[in-house]
């Protein structure tokens, strides 16, 4: 039993969290209201690997 994350898992989680906070959260309400598919954001996610 080992509930700890390894360094790579921590790095990926932190990257995903940073992306979500900086790039997704600010526009999420507007996209929901206007039913906008997050095309730009998905392309950017790919660039963030």
């Amino acid at each position: 039993m080992d509930f700890e994350l390894n360094e790579l898992q921590i790095a990926i989680r932190d990257t995903a969290r940073k992306f979500a906070e900086e790039r997704l959260a600010p526009g999420a309400r507007e996209r929901d209201r206007q039913e906008i598919f997050p095309r730009e954001e998905i392309l950017e996610m790919a660039r963030w690997a």
């Binding site: 039993m1 509930f3 994350l5 390894n6």
Partner: protein
């Protein structure tokens, strides 16, 4: 992340499972009905090292880790929840604080025979007017030369009827509030100790709890555990570990109920098919299995943190809160699946239902767990 057990952990779990199948499952219903303390089973647990699972071998224990302890508690409690709590109190509430705070001399005298299962320990924090509010202790310990003189009453003391010694909490400085509480190792055969008859209760009827009265009990000063004023800290950190044991007990009771319900649902037929094939019952089984798994993962995470030596207060409380309330829901559903037979003393589910209830109360009620968890969230 790795959810696999080590070879040692698997072996210990399997040993406990076989022991429970052989020694506990065939007897648990009768012990419950007759309110019979499982003397023989407890002696055999001692021989297997299960009365001091996480105590190092040099101090009489099995030298296993806390993950192993949680696995053992689940298996033993699946067979007999009463035996589970007798074991949990000796391991978590008696041996563990002496292991962590005891001097070499205290460990030799007060840990080794208890971890070996030759003697039985208990834990005295709760009082008639100090349950959840543990800092409202009335029991006092007054220094008198080489001794402390103890006066007061403790209640709901599991194993109290038969224990050889107790880790006892008493006020050494009333003005200091919870910082005035100290911990002592007290020989329960000392003059001035009176044990009330065993409490009558809803469940875990093969285990015994009772009130203990201390009247001018003289305890050698060398039996002070830790320093004066450290009692509250010792009590709370001990309960962090104890809650892992009780959470594992709750998982064990739930598993026993779930396994009985699964077997019954496959056999029992209504409207031309096994009731397990009715979606109403199948969905109940799905929820039961899912919740048991979720609870076990919380328990093992808390145990793994304890093994790492890091603070696990919130995680232990989360495991205890979720596992105990889960156990109540699962045993409730298991009884429902059994219908009228579930309500009958001819089956085991009514016992699981009664036994699960205490896990929401002792070693911190669900309300206390929510206070502990929310306090941890809010201070972060």
């Amino acid at each position: 992340m790795n959810f696999e057990l080590t070879e040692t952990q698997r072996m210990l779990r399997d040993t406990c499972r076989e022991f429970a199948e052989r020694e506990l499952v065939p007897n648990a219903r009768r012990w419950d009905e007759e309110h019979r303390f499982p003397v023989e089973a407890v002696r055999k647990l001692g021989e297997l090292g299960l009365m001091g699972v996480a105590v190092p071998e040099e101090w009489g224990g099995a030298g296993a880790d806390n993950v192993s302890y949680a696995l053992a508690m689940e298996e033993i409690s699946r067979g007999c929840a009463s035996t589970g709590v007798i074991m949990s109190v000796n391991n978590s509430l008696y041996c563990d604080p002496i292991l962590r705070y005891g001097t070499e001399e205290q460990k030799r005298e007060w840990l080794v025979p208890f971890a070996r299962g030759e003697k039985l320990g208990c834990f005295g924090l709760t009082e008639p007017e100090a349950g959840s509010d543990a800092a409202a202790q009335k029991t006092t310990a007054v220094r008198d030369g080489d001794h402390y003189v103890i006066n007061g009453a403790k209640n709901w003391i599991t194993n109290g009827t038969r224990a050889d010694a107790i880790v006892l909490f008493a006020m050494t400085n009333r003005e200091a509030g919870h910082r005035g509480i100290s911990a002592f190792i007290v020989d329960l055969n000392s003059p001035g100790v009176t044990r009330a008859p065993a409490d009558r209760k809803l469940g875990i009827n093969a285990s015994e709890s009772c009130s203990l009265y201390f009247e001018n009990v003289r305890v050698p000063a060398k039996n002070l555990l830790g320093k004066e004023g450290e009692g509250f800290k010792i009590a709370m950190s001990t309960l962090d570990g104890g809650r892992i044991g009780i959470a594992a007990q709750a998982v064990g009771i739930a598993r026993a109920a779930y396994e009985a319900a699964l077997a019954y649902a496959r056999e029992r037929k209504t409207f031309g098919k096994a009731i397990a094939e009715h979606q109403a019952i199948a969905f109940m089984l799905a929820d039961m299995a899912t919740e048991i798994d979720a609870a076990r993962l919380l328990v093992l995470r808390a145990a793994a943190l304890k093994d790492q030596g890091v603070r696990h207060t919130a995680e232990s409380s989360m495991a205890k809160l979720y596992a105990s309330e889960m156990s109540h829901r699962v045993t409730h559903k298991a009884l429902q699946i059994h219908g009228g037979y579930g309500y009958s003393k001819e089956f085991d589910v009514e016992r699981y239902y009664r036994d699960s209830r205490i896990t929401e109360i002792y070693e911190g009620t669900s309300e206390i767990q929510r206070i502990v968890i929310s306090a941890n969230l809010l201070k972060a």
